[in-house]
């Protein structure tokens, strides 16, 4: 009986693992299969052109503005999230006492549990009017507001993973540094942080993946104009927003339909590369 249970359990976990792989395989095949036909209609140069007018006749399927939109809001988000994320990680791991740590850590992790649509609503209903009033800019839904909201969303990822990395730095390293006469500040910056470098880098790359793949927030807050922005105060249309908001009414098999899948292919390649780098960074650490 026991032996039988053992075998059943093994089989179930086996199937679970295979199922995940099968799903991934299915997704890859589908998006590449549906994405490549766009090259029949547009050609590679036109597909990476500037103008995106998918429903106009004749249609333009240039996705460069969409890619730049994604990149701008993602970099903006990281510029906000890295100082706050890594800073809070250093505070929690190195400076805060046990009690403060136990309060702050779960609160930051709570941020990660808020659904993205709630972040989007916050951006639309509060942040955008606030930016108009305070900075007098003409338009509240723009690359900057999307960056701010995405940045806040990414903070808990960077913070909790960096904190894990910092905490796993052996205590002996800190003690040695302090014993040599280094101050606490010097110990953190010159000893602990370099020792946890790979973990912190990994958290940033994961944060990048989260920000570039986020959809709901950019649909609601980024403004949705398919242009190459000349300032942070201009609206942009990231790739995910274009796919999600246009897919609903495209005719299956039309050039527009294939173009949206083509965007998915580009997005998939970008996230695949970032995941690959994360994996590589972590593998390097494990082998040490």
């Amino acid at each position: 009986m026991k032996n039988f249970n053992e075998k059943v359990f093994k089989a179930i976990t086996h199937i679970a693992a295979l199922f995940t792989i099968a799903c991934l395989g299915g997704i890859i095949i589908t998006i590449f299969h549906e994405g490549f036909p766009i090259l029949k209609y547009a050609g590679l140069i036109e597909f990476f052109g500037v103008e995106w007018h998918p429903t106009h006749f004749p249609a333009d399927f240039g996705i460069t503005a969409l890619i730049i939109g994604s990149v701008v809001v993602t970099i903006g988000a990281l510029l906000i999230a890295i100082p706050f994320g890594v800073g809070s990680a250093i505070y929690i791991s190195e400076i805060a006492g046990n009690r403060t740590k136990e309060i702050i850590k779960p609160i930051i992790e709570l941020l990660a549990g808020i659904p993205s649509v709630v972040y989007g609503l916050f951006g639309m209903a509060f942040l955008a009017p606030f930016l108009i009033k305070v900075f007098g800019i003409p338009n509240g839904l723009n690359a900057l507001s999307a960056s701010i909201i995405l940045g806040v969303m990414v903070i808990p990822i960077i913070s909790s993973m960096s904190e894990d990395a910092l905490s796993s730095v052996p205590k002996s390293l800190r003690e040695a540094s302090l014993a040599l006469g280094a101050t606490k500040w010097e110990t953190i910056i010159k000893v602990v942080l370099p020792a946890a470098k790979t973990g912190v880098m990994g958290s940033i790359i994961l944060g990048f993946g989260r920000a570039i793949g986020e959809t709901m927030v950019v649909i609601m807050v980024a403004g949705g104009a398919a242009q190459i922005p000349t300032s942070l105060f201009q609206p942009v249309r990231p790739m995910t927003a274009a796919v999600a908001s246009e897919m609903g009414e495209t005719v299956i098999g039309s050039p527009h339909f294939h173009a949206l899948y083509g965007i998915s292919v580009v997005l998939f390649i970008i996230t695949f590369i970032t995941n690959f780098i994360t994996e590589f960074v972590f593998l390097k650490r494990r082998n040490k």
Binding site: H53, A65, L141, G224, A225, Q227, Q234, S245
Partner: protein, 273 residues
């Protein structure tokens, strides 16, 4: 052993629930988000009057409404536009017929920020704004302020009607903001001083200035006598499947009581001619 009992219990419960839902008759509705508030409100009253019938209403967009109605995965599909040629082709391929019922009228309403002095635009001016040929309110006699042009996403039925009737098939300017819902447009225009946007009539309120087009304002009267240039009909589609409950629901929508709800939602009642 205990776990097995729990599993069996859950299984029985699920089966029970499945049978329960199958027993009561249900009407499945999906499609345009512009039509959604009307049908939702009517469905609630309808269910109060007929407790044995269960009506479920979802959004999804006009195309999804029509496509699902053709596939008969739902009973009624909502649409804020007419059926397209390629959809008629699919219908003919499947040898089916789709019944189109106009249930309400709507005026695509142009709204601007409260502080804006402009009260009226011509269709030509509107077209120039949305194609990027006029970029400052000054050119229209307003304040020296850049125009923030706001549109609905290309997937919305409202966009398709606007594109055809106001933009006259010319290219939308590239820095036009594309927002996902009527609510998003209404909200953004209310706090953005230079903005102009269009929404279903039910979404325009005291927080905006409503523009008239060619000196005709989007009042109920002007929609009814068809003088307002951006008026349109809202539809529901269903295949002939002789389902009694579906007919009951459609009759209720077109009844006096149903049309009262249409007006309460800010739309204009349908006149059968």
């Amino acid at each position: 052993m205990k776990k097995v009992l729990i599993l069996i219990f859950i299984l029985i419960l699920t089966l029970f629930m499945v049978f329960c839902t199958q027993k009561s008759t249900s009407i499945d509705i999906a499609g345009s988000t512009t039509v959604l508030p009307i049908v939702q409100a009517i469905a609630e009253i309808f269910m109060d009057l007929n407790p044995e019938i269960n009506v479920s209403v979802r959004g999804g967009g006009s195309s999804i409404g029509i496509k699902s109605a053709i596939d008969e995965t739902i009973d009624i599909g909502n649409s804020s536009r007419e059926i397209k040629d390629n959809e008629i082709e699919i219908l003919q391929e499947k040898n089916k017929e789709l019944k189109k019922i106009a249930i309400a009228q709507d005026a695509i309403t142009m709204i601007v920020h409260k502080s804006n002095k402009i009260k009226n635009l011509s269709i030509v001016q509107l077209k120039k704004i949305y194609s990027g040929k006029i970029t400052n309110w000054k050119e229209l006699g307003g304040n020296n302020k850049n125009i923030i042009v706001i549109s609905r996403d290309v997937s919305s039925g409202s966009f398709e009607v606007f594109y055809e009737k106001a933009l006259k098939n010319s290219k939308l300017l590239t820095n036009c903001m594309m927002l996902a819902s009527n609510n998003a447009v209404a909200g953004t225009v209310s706090y953005t001083p230079g903005a102009i946007g269009y929404v279903g009539r039910g979404y325009a309120n005291q927080k905006h200035n409503i523009l008239s087009l060619e000196n005709i304002s989007p009042t109920t009267k002007n929609v009814l006598n068809k003088t307002y240039p951006l008026s349109r009909k809202l539809f529901i589609f269903t295949t002939e499947q002789n389902k009694k409950t579906v007919d009951m629901f459609i009759n209720f929508v077109l009844s006096e009581k149903g049309q009262e709800i249409v007006e309460k939602q800010g739309y204009v009642k349908i006149v059968n001619n």
